[in-house]
């Protein structure tokens, strides 16, 4: 399923919005999202380990 809607014609602001991430390690937004997801998974694992170790 793809997002629907009625996009307006691209204006100057839209051109600016085409920029990449500008980050040295993550060139695409997909890479940024995967990094955030990995950080989330790492936190859950860490907190589960903390629970297991001290409860």
């Amino acid at each position: 399923m793809k997002p629907s809607g009625t996009p307006a014609p691209p204006g100057p602001e839209h051109r600016v919005d085409q920029e990449g991430t500008g980050l040295p390690l993550f060139r695409t937004w997909r890479a940024v999202y995967w990094f955030v997801f990995a950080a989330f998974a790492a936190w859950v694992i860490l907190l589960a380990a903390l629970t297991r170790a001290f409860s």
Binding site: M1, K2, P3, S4, G5, T6, P7, A8, G11, E13, H14, V16, D17, Q18, E19, G20, T21, G22, W29, V32, Y33, V36, F37, A39, F40, W43, V44, L47, A48, L50, T51, A53, F54, S55
Partner: protein, 567 residues
Amino acid sequence: MNPLDYLVLFGTMLAIAAYGLWRARGQRGLSGYIRGSGSSGWVTIGLSVMATQASAVTFLSMPGQGYEDGLTFVQNYFAMPLALIIVAAVFLPMFRRLNVYTAYEFLGRRFDAKTRLLGAGLFLLQRGLGAGITIYAPAIVLSTVFGWPLNLTIIFSGLLVIIYTVIGGNEAVSVTQKYQIMVIFGGMVTAFVILLARMPAQLTFTDALTVAGTFHKMNAVDFSPDLHKRYTFWSGMFGGMCLMLSYFGTDQSQVQRYISGASLRECKLGLMFNALCKIPMQFLILLLGVLLFVFYQFEAPPVFFNQSSWQAAAARDGGKFHALEQKFAAVCAEKEQSIRAWLDARHRNDSSAETAARAQALAAHDRSEAIRGEARAALHDADAHAQKNDGDYVFITFILAHLPHGVIGLLVAAFFAAALSSKAGELSALGSTTSVDFYRHLVKRQADDAHYVKASKWFTAFWGVVALGFALFANLAENLIQAVNIVGSVFYGVVLGLFLVAFFIKWVRGTAVFWGALLAQALVFCLYFSLKNTPYEISYLWYNLVGCAACLLFSLVIQALDFKTKE
């Protein structure tokens, strides 16, 4: 608080508000007032999003929640990074492309006017109630502790935020939020460091976590499928996902914060900053509460942390309350001895002595909790209106007793900063939604920009006064964090359902989603009120999922029936 504390408190609050107003000077037009200068970078957006979400309750009450229930509340935030990825990838680009002022404008373009008004109306209803809570929450605690008049505290903080939000608009809100959150971080880090420094010298960090774990405070993740449990991994992931997606993707108080960036890149990075920081931040605040619990195993705590209520009741029936205090102090001393013996045995690797001392500590803890229960009952007998929950007073009690002057002022400034920052975001969003989605759309369609700016200012002031009135006269729920979240959960699921249909189910039209949303909201109300205080009561987080799923399902069914009827 001494004069130095008051100087730090008022100096910080007034300087930030004045700077925000100065930075917002000279802005022109409705776009400037609602979306700001359009030059915000990701740091400002990220801190602004964080400041809007984190109210005074987060910093004042959450350490108390950590003290009482341990780390379990962190699960409430588990879905947030995933929700923010979805918002950044799907919601945000669409809002930017359509160049909308409010999230509900998007519903109007995708569906029709009535669906737009429904979304905006649900937002105004639930956020209008929430705005009152965010004013009341810190005021009740701080006025009780410091003996300030409650109404004066509410009016001072309320008027300050109304003035700079009404005059400065979105730009003033973003700028002040950036510096307010810095004050908050400064205060919380200082308190954390001082707490660690005040722990007993021989207690290692591992010892502290071991003590906390023994008393069931290290329960950060619970994979139990039990629906009755308020916080589990599953309620956090599924119910929390709907709550977070709805809050960040459809709540104007957040949408207004991140659509105002200089570019899509800055907006996305601001959201990803929050996605990365929120779980560790909440964890550290709860850990602060857990470490406070450990600290008070070695330092006699009061039998009831709301000392103002306690002393007022004790003044009427001194003997009974004094006896409870003495009994509690004796059990706490016994518990401290047992914990020290247990840790000594642990360091000596004497497992049998460790087991015996640990059992004694647990037994003493059960007795101390029983006395605290007696104390709450005695307080209730003495004053039926007295709050039985003292969790909100744990952190402020520590601050007043153990932090140096100046730092006390900084921490109180941090609580007010948190209250003002979240309230400013809410008021600005309430004003802009009323102005753009109702006034400009229904009442006065053809007027110049200056007229709409003026209208927005009046509506923002109106919502500020409503929130003040609600805070001054409402009789609010006991637990402040949960009250805010419960109010949100009753409405958020349905609003999210509206947006998910708009984004992902192209063939559903406005009328079907409008009636689907109304039916879903009625279902959530019925379930919430009929299951409340029964054995079948479910965690409020699940109502987000129920509302969202019901809205999607009803919209699909109504649209399908509509097609069939037409055929």
